[in-house]
Amino acid sequence: MSILILAEHDGNHIKQSTRQAVSAAAAWQLPIHLLVAGSSSESLAKEASGIAGVAKVLHAEAAHFEHPLAEDVAALLVQLGADYKVILSAHTSFSKSVLPRVAALLDVAMVSDVVSITAPATYVRPIYAGNVLSTVESSDAIQVLTIRATSFAAATDGANAEVAKVNVPPSTGLSRWVKEDKTVSDRPELSSARVVVSGGRSLGERFNELLEPLAHRFGGALGATRAAVDAGFAPNDIQVGQTGTIVAPELYFAIGISGAMQHLAGMKDSKIIVAINHDPDAPIFQYADYGLVANLFEAVPELTAALSK
């Protein structure tokens, strides 16, 4: 029996979170197969075959995988999946769409957002916005799960796995890709950035003006609270929290963030948390390693200047 990991890519490269899924899969001590579904995806399959720990790459090349749809990827996984003990992927918007569909078609349960694998079918996962950790055991013959990428180290290069082409079922025709609008940025991806600079609503229209230079200093990513996003000061894809992106960088700046439960759920596993807020009683200070009570509009530029020296 083996483990099947659904790889995620942006058309050019395999995502970091897939490498983290490979590390998580090591818990079973079984051969790891990586499924790469794409169009003109030879180089992606090659890249996947180099990831340390991968025993075999299943390469599903098809024109309709240029923009892989959940319905079509699920159909492919169901065709392959019956032979596997575990089907696993990182807890990203792509896999969150695909894997529940796969689990239902295989008539098995799914375990979402696993932060720790304590035995071959026993998992720890956060519930209630990360306020509680639940340990669950799955009794199904095929284990389907997503893992929280930030809880696992990324597998590096170092393998030369066999690449095997797989037959691709025709498109289900249930849905059709229309278009996408992705933020083009030279900054690292939010979920895997070493440093994240996040801001709250109180930054107002000056959100970018204040935070971008600080993020730039570290080559870090920008994040935001739900309130800042809802008020239109930041785009929705940088929302950090229970329902947004979960981050656990080495250094997290919480600037003008009070520390609502739903936001804390998305960042409290960061290694070092710095909070700057004008309100000394803000709950964020209970989570911050270093807290500074100050006027944001003065302290942030001062900090950026001091760090740029």
Binding site: E71, S93, P100, N131, S175, E250, F285, Y290, L303
Partner: protein
């Protein structure tokens, strides 16, 4: 066109849950409960589609214990036309819920099914996709804009790094994200009216569907608390601390 909205009765989002002393589960006895916020957005969207003349009937369904009726009343007060309680005392997990919802879909024959993208208690985020799989329908997850165009629905989805748009053949399943809409405030007269409306009751056991849990919760625990931090007096001290922590 008929829309079916699936809603879940959950612990209120403002409540910090407590772990039972024996670590067996979260203690929700006597805790304030209400409609799952993402499901409230689902009801709001369906009602707005009706107000725009795209939808003729909005049916809300929930699965659970008798107290889930409160969440159905909430849906009625928002503007749902009819509500159904699939009643069971059994422990529910997404696959079983999706199977029960499939039975309701077969009976009601909606053109569109809207659910929240996740419930804020278990944070699993699976039911909509599982239902779509079981009824062999297209799925539009994490929706921030919906537009019905002929026999398709275009769904703008909030995904990592931006948005995309998919067109689904109807009937289809959509799961809502936060920015699809802002649910209306319910006024007292609407709530009073909702209390007088009937709730259709179906016993889950009568549907003959296997909903036995596949996952067994072994224990729950509080996460490790963070070590207490310190307050620094000024920016210079902050920079000094970060330098010592070797993160610069």
């Amino acid at each position: 066109m008929k829309v079916l909205v699936a809603v879940k009765h959950v612990v209120d989002y403002n409540i910090k849950p407590r772990v039972k002393q024996d670590g067996s589960d979260v203690d929700i006895a006597g805790v304030k409960m209400g409609i799952n916020p993402f499901d409230e957005i689902a009801v709001e969207e369906a009602v707005r589609m009706k107000e725009r003349g795209i939808v003729t009937e909005v049916v809300a369904v929930t699965i659970g214990k008798t107290n889930s009726q409160d969440t159905l009343r909430h849906a009625l007060a928002m503007g749902a036309d009819r509500v159904i309680l699939v009643e069971t005392e059994a422990e529910l997990q997404p696959l079983g819920v999706a199977k029960l919802l499939k039975a309701v879909v077969e009976r009601e024959q909606p053109r569109l099914i809207i659910l929240g993208k996740q419930a804020i208690d278990d944070d699993l985020g699976q039911t909509g996709q599982m239902l779509a799989a079981l009824i062999n329908a297209g799925q539009g997850t994490f929706a921030s804009v919906l537009e019905v165009k002929g026999d398709e629905i275009e769904v703008t989805r909030e995904i990592d790094g931006g948005t995309d748009v998919v067109a689904l053949k109807l009937p289809a399943v959509v799961t809502t994200d936060l920015r699809l809409n802002e649910p209306r405030f319910i006024k007292l007269p609407a709530m009073m009216m909702a209390k007088k409306k009937p709730i259709e009751n179906i016993k889950a056991a009568d549907l003959g569907i296997d909903i036995a849990p596949r996952l067994k919760q072994l224990k729950v625990a509080d996460p490790e608390p963070r070590k207490p931090g310190i307050k620094v007096a000024n920016v210079a001290e902050l920079v000094e601390k970060l330098r010592l922590a070797e993160v610069l």
